[in-house]
Amino acid sequence: MTTPNSGRVDPAALLPSATPIRFVAEDGTPAEQSGDYAEPALETLREAYRLMVLGRRFDAQATALTKQGRLAVYPSSTGQEACQIAAALALNPADWLFPTYRDSMALIARGIAPGEVLTLLRGDGHCGYQPDQVRTAPQCTPLATQALHATGLAHALHRRGEHAVTLALIGDGATSEGDFHEALNFAGVFGAPVVFLVQNNGYAISVPLDKQTAAPSLAYKGIGYGVRAEQVDGNDAVAMLSVLSAAVERARTDGGPMLIEAHTYRMDAHTNADDATRYRDAAEVERWRAADPMRRLETHLRNRNALSDKDIESFADEAEEFAATVRGVMNTEPQLDPLTLFDHVYAEPTRDLLTQRARLAAELDAVEA
């Protein structure tokens, strides 16, 4: 009779740190460091800061444009800059990112043009960019489904001998879906080079985490799949970059998958259509404002003399220019051809689709005539 755990990993090695990994305290001073993660280079942190400024400005601009009716819907990620920018920076161009509807900042940081980032939310198309060219999957709405795609693709990359990894962005609520479970289990069994980053922003629309799970914290889900897990202060960009880079490198070097829970907060409502005052009080929001990831990194870099007023000014200017570009793009309506609706349903349109296309073409002519 074989003993059950023979040849299996040591459970303790899979559990996350008891408290979130943190390098920088809320006031920007060094935190008593937990875990043995390396602090990222100052240059990387400066770049992260620049992108956080850019990302937050972009987010504000998109929200404003939505109020003006230019977007169908917009889910803001202000407050989650450290998570999203770190996710983008931790990856190489050859790696794949799997974003959700929430992750516009990560897409911007990944270098995708703002117009392409907003195509989905503007209602012009289902995906504005060419996923294969930017190695970024379409923004995913059916919750947790992308975690399986990221796992399968990671295994495919590994099978092809490419030293590339995939990183899936997942919300705290989405961890309740069966697909999250199946993705982590497949990742564990196949040892796929995938990193699951759960942005635990405390809410799934209106539902707080304590109605979502009774777990000590979401990072404790990893051990059930034999997947190493970690929890991080998601508003500490230094910790996020440090832990994510380590996870990505580990996966890249055949160390297998990793689950990372980032404790963060969604400062704005779920989307422009949501009214957050219905389910959370202002005091809570203010408590989190005190933990603002950007000011925290700014103070940290200043204390290290790695960020000057001039830098901040130039980053701000760059962000303003970027916002102007975004406005420009959003204020020009793209020409959408209804007849393209029949393309790409199949590699070649079926007879039925050609018939329907011809009928629509006739309708359009009739209107013009």
Binding site: L121, G123, D124, T141, P142, S176, I205, P338, L341
Partner: protein, 332 residues
């Protein structure tokens, strides 16, 4: 009576059901404190307490499977799937359990539960928020499928659904949520499984339901200009299908067009056409035609207008009903 929206009528139906039967429970994603993304459950938790209306973890299969267990335990769960495409994770629970438990146990166990699904488009929703998924449910024996086209029916049919001893998939047309009407709470409406004639007419029968009822009625008005007197039948119950009422109308008018937003291929309209053709064959002056959504994934908001049947498409189709007995344009 003062005019209220369909969303409010649904809210009123839930309130009255919660009042009348303590076994009724409402749960799902964001239905509690928030009152649902469409505010259909607005205020229920505040007024009836966490015990009667509550939020669940974010997992649709979990919600439906948990509801099956609670129904086995004597409750009458009314669960919400936030949007049509987000009911798909619950497909196995709905198809293999909700639809079958009574049959599997020869009636020893029953599942008086309602699965509310906001469905179809017309509200500028992005992908996965606008599917017309009715056929997936109507083809599955054991499920009742109801869909209101008016605020009054929203109240009446939801009350009936909650009272039903059978599980009901309750499809709510998003594009009608904000349509307003005077609503009576006296429950004097037609039986839930009967279709109703919304507008009498002599020349042709328009068969519609839920999302397309409004468009069908508009078309009937517009058709008078063409000299066509159009009868509009609202199915209300998709499963079972009220063949008697619909066939009576079509055998009388001799012409029929079935309208729905769902993709045409293998869609609900095909069943209606097949039944009417068999039942009214010798009364038909022309084949029963369909006006449906295109056979493509639901388009992005800025193109959805081309996906959904509109007055012109329906009029064009009526025009093809061989008024001078010319042959049907094949494939058209």
């Amino acid at each position: 009576m003062s005019p209220i929206t369909m969303a409010r009528a649904l809210n009123a139906a839930l309130r009255d059901a919660l009042k009348d039967d303590e076994k009724v429970l409402v749960f799902g994603e964001d239905v509690g404190t928030l009152g649902g993304v469409f505010r259909v459950t607005d205020g229920l938790t505040a007024d009836f307490g966490e015990d009667r209306c509550f939020d669940t973890p974010l997992a649709e299969s979990g919600i439906v499977g948990f509801a099956v267990g609670m129904a086995m335990g004597g409750f009458r769960p009314v669960v919400e799937m936030q949007f049509d495409a987000f009911a798909y994770p619950a497909f196995e629970q709905i198809t293999s359990h909700v639809a079958k438990l009574r049959n599997r146990t020869r009636g020893a166990l029953s599942l008086p539960m309602v699965i509310r699904v906001p469905y179809a488009g017309g509200i500028g929703g992005v992908e996965h928020h606008c599917d017309s998924s009715e056929i997936y449910y109507t083809h599955t024996p054991g499920l009742r499928v109801l869909t209101p086209g008016t605020a009054q029916d929203a109240y009446d049919l939801l009350r009936d659904a909650i009272d039903s001893p059978d599980p009901v998939v309750f499809l709510e047309p998003k594009n009608r949520y904000w349509s307003t009407e005077d609503v009576s709470f006296a429950r004097k409406g037609a039986p839930a499984d009967r279709a109703v004639i919304r507008r009498p007419g002599r020349d042709v029968t328009l068969v519609a339901y839920g999302p397309m009822l409004g468009t069908a009625l508009e078309t009937a008005e517009a058709a008078t200009a063409e000299g066509w007197d159009v009868e509009v039948v609202d199915l209300r119950s998709l499963a079972p299908f009220d063949e008697e009422t619909v066939a009576e109308s079509v055998c009388r008018t001799g012409r029929a067009v079935v309208v729905h937003e769902a993709a045409g291929f293998g869609g609900y309209g095909a069943e209606v056409v097949a039944r009417l053709t068999e039942r009214c064959f010798h009364h038909l002056h022309a084949p029963v035609l369909r006006v449906t959504g295109l056979d493509i994934p639901y388009p992005p908001p800025k193109l959805e207008q081309y996906q959904r049947p509109d007055v012109d498409r329906i009029l064009d189709t009526i025009a093809r009903l061989q008024w001078q007995d010319q042959p049907v344009v094949s494939g058209a």
